[in-house]
Every structure is written in C-alpha cells, then in structure tokens.
C-alpha cells in the first residue's frame, strides 16, 4: 500500500514539474518560432542556442521590484495572480496523460497516469477554466486603471462567450463516448477503422474539433483573440499594473492554460495516448507528440493571423460559432441515437 501512495505523490510532483517545464519550453519555442517566422534569429545568447533564455527571464522577473498602485484594492490585487496560477495548475489535475502503468514494475497493481480520476473530469476541467476567468477579471479591476479594467472586462466577456461553444463542441464528444470521464473517453478511441485509420474522434467530429480549437484559443486569450492584452490598444491589458513575480504568475498561467487546453484536446479528439507502433506503457510519448503539435499550431496561428476587431470577435462567437456548435451537437446526438451505439 505504501508504494502506491508514494507513486501518487510522485505523479503529483511530476505533473507539477512538467507543467513548469512545459511553460519554460513554451516561452522559448514561442520566441524561436516567432523569430523564424519573422526571419530573425531569436534568443541565442543564453545557453546553447539560447535554450536557457526562459530561466534568465524568470530570474530577471523575480529580482524586479514588485509595484502596487496606491488606489489598488490591496487584497484582490495580491489574490488575482495567485488565483489564475492556481486555476491553471488545478485544471490539469484531472487530465490523464498515459495508460495504466506499473512504472516498470516498481509497484504491483498498476496506477493511472493522472492526478485525480474524477468521473466527471471533463466538467471539472470546464469548471476550473470558468474559475480562471476571475484571475484576469479581478486583476484588471483591482489594479484600478482604465486599461486594466477594459482588458479584464473584455477577457471576461470573451471567455464567457466562447465557453458556450467550447462546452457544446465538448458535449458532442461526450455523447459519442457516453461518459464524462476523460479516461473512458480516451479508451473509447482505441484501435483503428479498416486497420489503418485510428479511431480518433477528430475524424468523426471534424467540425467539433475545429470549434474546440478556435474556442480554446479564445479561452486562453491567444492571438488572434488576445484582446485582454492587446498591446496596441491597452498597454498590456489586465496585467498592465503588474510587475515582478505576480506578473510572472500571469505569464505562467497563460502558458499552462495553453498546455492544459492542448492536453484536453488531445484526450478528447486525438485519442490521447493511443497510437500505432508504440507499446501501451509508452503511450505518454504519443501524448507529448500530439500536445506539441497542437501547441505549435497555437504559436503558428499567433504569429500569422492579425487580431480581429472586438465586435467581430463577439459577432463571430455568438452568431457563427455557437450555432455551429449547437448544430454539431444535435447532429451528433441524432447520429448516436440512429446508430444505436
């Protein structure tokens, strides 16, 4: 019994570390990719090919002075970044990233590569995302500056608007899998049709996947939906007034959210850790591959597409995405009932 607890604890730590690492990697790769897209070098001084750049950044940020506007709401101003960071980390807790494994026989009965196996995991992710709104909103409001306020208002309304499409496209998958547990959903995508097409829901739910991706981008406030921090319009949006560690937390939270979104997408649509050529216990490699692909896609999109106009964003969200998602859900449900599985 003891080793099991140890293993669980280990997994928690591992996930925590992995998320931090992932954030760092993201920062680096984002800069690099951006540079390549813009035909620059990007960071190359710190460490080999500037790989240690993120660490330098962190150090710099930590050693900066932490400022707080006089008129700011003391409590909330402090609370906001912590909240968003926490939410970001917590969301990943229910995301499975690998098949059951005995960790190379270290422990007798296998455990799942997942912090907490909740039978309503999907909804939990959803719920935590909705909480993460507060981080931004409160940050904007508490720092008592008009730019921040505008940024936070925008982000809040934007996230709420896209949460609906997000949830609906997700619900379609739930209908297909017939479960709310991410593990079950992933396992429902085992195997392949005709031997070579993997049973990924992306092939069943192309539209759903598209909507999910777009909504995900909006949820994570990334370009072309990065209104909360639209540099050209409102200095730095909701975190204008933040500096030093609190700012870093927002930064962190943003990237972790991306990772989480990517992980969830992989689990829901791309069959999680299932994939050809690799044994079950190495499934997490497939998982990493898929996540990286999605993340690259995010970065790629950010540096390619211009930002929309705010009203366009809202119009799109309510008048295009939501109806499409609803339609998709209805069609899926009908299909499921028709096929009877």
């Amino acid at each position: 019994m003891i080793p099991l607890y140890i293993a669980q604890f280990g997994i928690i730590l591992a996930v925590f570390g992995m998320l931090l690492l992932a954030a760092a990697v993201m920062v680096y790769s984002e800069r690099k990719v951006a540079a390549l897209i813009q035909q620059r070098y990007g960071p190359y001084l710190v460490g080999p090919k500037g790989m240690l750049q993120p660490i330098a950044d962190v150090v710099k940020l930590i050693f900066k002075e932490s400022l707080r506007p006089v008129a700011a709401d003391r409590v909330i101003f402090v609370l906001a970044p912590i909240l968003s960071a926490t939410a970001a980390f917590a969301a990943f807790a229910v995301v499975p990233f690998g098949a059951e494994t005995t960790l190379f026989g270290l422990i007798e009965e296998p455990i799942r590569l997942q912090v907490a196996d909740v039978n309503v995991a999907v909804l939990v992710v959803f719920a935590i995302t909705s909480i993460s709104v507060y981080g931004i909103v409160l940050a904007g409001w508490s720092s008592n500056s008009k730019y921040s306020l505008l940024g936070s208002l925008r982000s809040a309304s934007q996230m709420i608007s896209y949460e609906l499409s997000y949830g609906m496209s997700l619900a379609a998958v739930l209908v297909l899998a017939g479960s709310l547990s991410l593990t079950d959903i992933v396992n429902a995508q085992q195997g392949a049709w005709l031997g070579f097409i993997p049973r990924w829901f992306v092939f069943v739910q192309p539209l759903g996947f598209l909507i999910f991706m777009i909504a995900g981008v909006a949820e994570t406030n990334r370009a072309p939906f990065d209104f909360p921090e639209a540099e050209q319009e409102l200095v730095a949006g909701y975190h204008t007034e933040y500096s030093s560690t609190p700012f870093m937390m927002f930064f962190l939270a943003e990237y972790i959210n991306m990772v989480t979104a990517a992980a969830v997408a992989a689990d829901l649509f791309l069959g999680g850790w299932h994939g050809p050529f690799l044994p079950e216990y190495l499934g997490w490699i497939w998982f990493l591959v898929k996540i990286s692909a999605i993340l690259f896609f995010y970065i790629w999109m950010r540096w390619t597409l211009p930002r929309l106009r705010y009203d366009q964003l809202m119009q799109f969200g309510w008048k295009v995405l939501l109806p499409l998602a609803a339609l998709n859900l209805i069609v899926t449900a009908a299909g499921v009932i028709y096929c009877g599985n």
Binding site: D73, L123, S130, V137, S152, L153, A156, S157, I160, L180
Partner: protein, 176 residues
Amino acid sequence: MGTELLLFYLFGAIAVAASLLVVLQRNPMHSVLLLIVSFCALAGLYIGLEAPFAAVVQIIIYTGAIMVLFLFVVMLLNAHREDEVDVGARPVRGPLRAGAVLAVVLMAELVWALVRAGGPRDGALSEGAGADAAALQSVRTLGNVLFTDYSLAFEATSILIIVAMVGAVVLAKRES
C-alpha cells in the same frame, strides 16, 4: 470523527463564514468574491453528498456565469462602496435592523425545531446510504429523471430562461 464529518465541518465553516462576510461588509466586490468562496464550499459539501455533478454544475453555472454577471455589473457601475449618503432615501433603517434581528430569531427557531425533531444525532442519512451511491452519482440516471419525470418543468424553465434573457436585454438597453 470520520474524515467525512471533518470535511463537512470544514466546508460548512467556510460557507457560513463566507456568507456572513458577504452580508456584513460593505464592499460589493468583496461580497461577490466571498460569495464565490461560499459557493465553492457548498460544492465541496455536494461532493460529500455524493452529488459530484451537482457540485460541478454549482461551480460552472454559479461561479462561472451568474457571479461573473454580478462582477460585471459591479465593475460597470463602479460601485466601490455602499453609498452612505442616502440620496433622498426614506430612513427605514430601524425596522430593517429589526428584520435582521428577526432573521436571527428565524435561524434560532429552525435550529431549535430541528434539534427537537431528533437533531444532529439521528442517523437519518445512514439508511439513505443504503441506496447505491453509483446510481446517485451517475449523470445518466440524472438525465433520465430530468427528461422523463421532470420534462414539463424542464421545458418551462427553458421558456423562463428565454423570457428572462429578452427581458434583461430590453431593460438594460439604453433607451435613445
């Protein structure tokens, strides 16, 4: 004193404290946040009651939607503090204070009534435990009940929502 009871007291304490603060301090923004806290605590209690779905819904809808709405309004009206200067307000504070007192009285009455009715020591919940928890937890059964026994009420609420939506838009629209 099992862990469940421990958790119950923990969450219960949080909920009560948060609610009390919601009521007792002046800054609406803080009230909203504290209310969110108490909601989360309630969600925890729901999990303890083997209603995880209810818990998640509580968070998604209350915390994720309704409270954000409140937050919005607070920001929009930028009501930092409860306005002390009553703009042409009728001084009806006295009776209202009495109302607060009455609330306490009501609380006392309820508690007293419950205690007399067997109070905390009755094992009411335990024989309910006989019902299989899986059925209670599974969203499927919930859905079945919701869409069969309560279908009418469900449709009614959907209409209610539509009406409320339209009404809200009409009311909040600045008449030009």
